[in-house]
Symmetry: C2
């Protein structure tokens, strides 16, 4: 058995103890993890400095280095996110449905942990702690495979987390780090049937496609968002400008940021010059179709622009004939993440909400609100863009499954 499968097996062996742990014990482990991190700033920051230095010497982009970098205040925020989990309701043990059958059998559908949750992610070391905390609170063991760029940071963080588990009387293998940062290690995770109950790839489209193509274990796809804002003929144009700028520019590097603006032809002449000015003030570069070039001074868009998740201060702009054309454009180019309409027309809003296929549909609100924190879930392991199991922001509940418990007094089937 390979090293990766041995790790999965260790996590699987730890899973029953986690599944049985009371909320109380899990919360104590979370506090121990947070306290452990508070006490380990020095070794963690030292390890992180090695990763950051390596990234810098390799000439990695500044934004990527920034995501990789830990600081004292950032570590404090990571500890705080663990402590925030303590306040959240433990989903394990919730009775989802319960009924008594005509023959007297008492049926309860009870929420239980999945077992082993594996995660493959890129260069943010805070994800190591966030994922471990969410898995723990929901009663799951976890197998974490971060990127090679963060290996020293992740190793140091995992040591702290595992020590905290041991100190609380829980198995250290409830948090397992895969130190092998080769692609083969990811492939082995995708094939760990019977050991991994859920695999979450979190990162760029390339990582996600590769995992899905190989996966023989259940996968939830997260985070690719080619999100659109559609400004309808009946839009309040002040709102439309504010929403467009916010959706694009408030934090362009995340999946719920908008990438394409669709504008109804009837308001394009009035709206686009205003929107273009506000977007440029926010530092946004525009590409677009002929109308957008004429009305917004956009550069010409190539076909590929409509399918590109820029994750940057760049926006594609297209003028459409009507709501149908907007819906058709989204059906063709959207990634089932978040789509927004700005309109004061109730019928248009209803049609958009019904006809657009996405995890979240916004009416007169920024796409940036599709977020576990904003939705009040308290924490989020990712935003599912698939339809199975979980759709949209995934909180603690989405890291559980259910079990039917049927109690009788000797019933047999006739």
């Amino acid at each position: 058995m390979s090293a990766v499968l041995e790790i999965c097996k260790a996590a699987k062996a730890a899973a029953p103890a986690l599944a049985r742990a009371s909320t109380d014990v899990k919360d104590r482990a979370l506090e121990a993890m947070a306290a452990g991190l508070d006490a380990a700033h020095d070794p963690v920051l030292e390890a992180n400095a090695r990763d950051v230095e390596a990234a810098r010497s390799a000439g990695v982009a500044a934004a990527v280095v920034d995501r990789l970098t830990l600081t004292g205040p950032r570590l404090e925020a990571v500890s705080q996110s663990l402590r925030d989990l303590i306040a959240l309701t433990d989903p394990v043990g919730t009775v989802v449905r319960g009924f008594t059958l005509p023959n007297g059998l008492e049926v309860r559908q009870i929420r239980v942990p999945l077992g082993v949750v594996a995660m493959v992610y890129e260069g943010r070391p805070n994800v190591t702690v966030d994922a471990a905390g969410l898995a723990l609170k929901s009663g799951n063991a976890c197998v974490l495979r971060g990127s090679s760029s963060a290996i020293h940071s992740n190793t140091a963080l995992a040591r702290v987390l595992r020590d905290a588990l041991t100190a609380t009387g829980l198995p250290a293998d409830a948090v397992c780090l895969v130190a092998d940062t080769s692609r083969d290690a990811v492939k082995e995770l995708t094939r760990a049937r019977g050991l991994v109950d859920l695999l979450i790839p979190r990162g760029g489209a390339g990582l996600i496609s590769a995992v899905v193509a190989d996966a023989q274990v259940p996968v939830v796809e997260t985070g690719v968002g080619n999100c659109h804002v559609y400004v309808d003929a009946a839009a309040d144009l002040d709102r439309a400008v504010a929403i467009t700028v916010n959706a694009k520019a408030q934090r362009p590097s995340v999946c719920n940021a908008a990438e394409t603006l669709l504008v109804h032809r009837g308001v394009a002449e009035e709206f686009l010059p205003r929107a273009a000015a506000a977007l440029r003030d926010a530092g946004v570069t525009l590409v677009g179709d002929d109308a957008a070039q004429a009305l917004a001074g956009a550069d010409p868009a190539a076909d590929a622009d409509w399918d590109t998740e820029y994750l940057d201060l760049r926006l594609a702009v297209r003028v459409v004939d009507d709501l149908d054309a907007a819906v058709a454009h989204i059906a063709r180019h959207g990634t089932l993440h978040t789509e927004a309409i700005v309109t004061e027309d109730r019928a248009a809003a209803r049609r958009f909400v019904t006809e657009v296929d996405a995890a979240a549909v916004m009416v007169n609100a920024s796409t940036r609100f599709t977020d576990g924190g904003e939705f009040g879930f308290g924490a989020e392991i990712g935003i599912s863009t698939q339809k199975l199991h979980a759709r949209g922001p995934m909180g603690l509940q989405e890291l559980t499954t259910t079990k039917y418990v049927v109690e009788g007094d000797g019933q047999v089937r006739g």
Copy 2:
């Protein structure tokens, strides 16, 4: 694009009309399908006769030929199952959760159809109608790929179903049959990313493993059941005999039938001779460990027996030292389907329910109760043995996903 992908594309194009169809229209289509079947006994039975004759000449086993065979009364039962769907609650449009955020955004999580549900199944032509009916009622288009042995029956049935859709004003492509019964056709279905929202393999372990190994579309695994009955030290032995016989022999060919009997050593001497006699009366052959050979006259079991889903009047019997040993045996050999304990000891029941990982855990009841019909779901597309999305009997609700609808009046993120 291949013929199979063209079919998936046609189903995908039909899906929005299904998703928008009112319950009323869908129920009328179900009635039209049922009436169409009532009127088409002659052509359907003729087509079926060709399949049955081919199976007989190929020397197929009598039980398999029986599953393939349609008769007037069987067709009436199939029509009735469509009409029964009319009475069931339409899950589409249900608000699963709803809340208002501090910033005034109104969030609703609404149940919506998955889109395109594909199913790969074996030689029962009634599955063609059942699956189409469930998909229709839950607002999904479906792509059905039955076995070559039933191709004439399935073709005749699909024609009736599609005509009924057309007559109701719904797109005929809401029910698509893949006439290509090669393995390549299944492989193409597993790769139809973006076209198939859920693929359900329904059949033997070989079919399911093959589909899971290839699948790049979301899959729910169904139906492999190596189910156990554990007779505890504190069992009521009359109940234990009745439950064991029922779980094994009432309908041995189905996935929720028991395949292994585990008996606590403390009651083995009293229980096993009685159980063996009752099982033999029901026509059951026993294999077992040394103790079972001595106490129940079982033939020696091979290692493979503990992992075999006989689907036949054959039962493996093992005497275990205690509850821990029973739980460990199930953890090693179970398929996460249904596990039963017979006991009057509350603590033992609680431990078994908590520690056994399965879609359904029975206390003092037959494993045969894990069934959508028995649970009152009215219909069932399969019994999920995976933990993601759906676990246990899958009814209409499990053929849906959700969508977040967020309504505001210009909110942007700060």
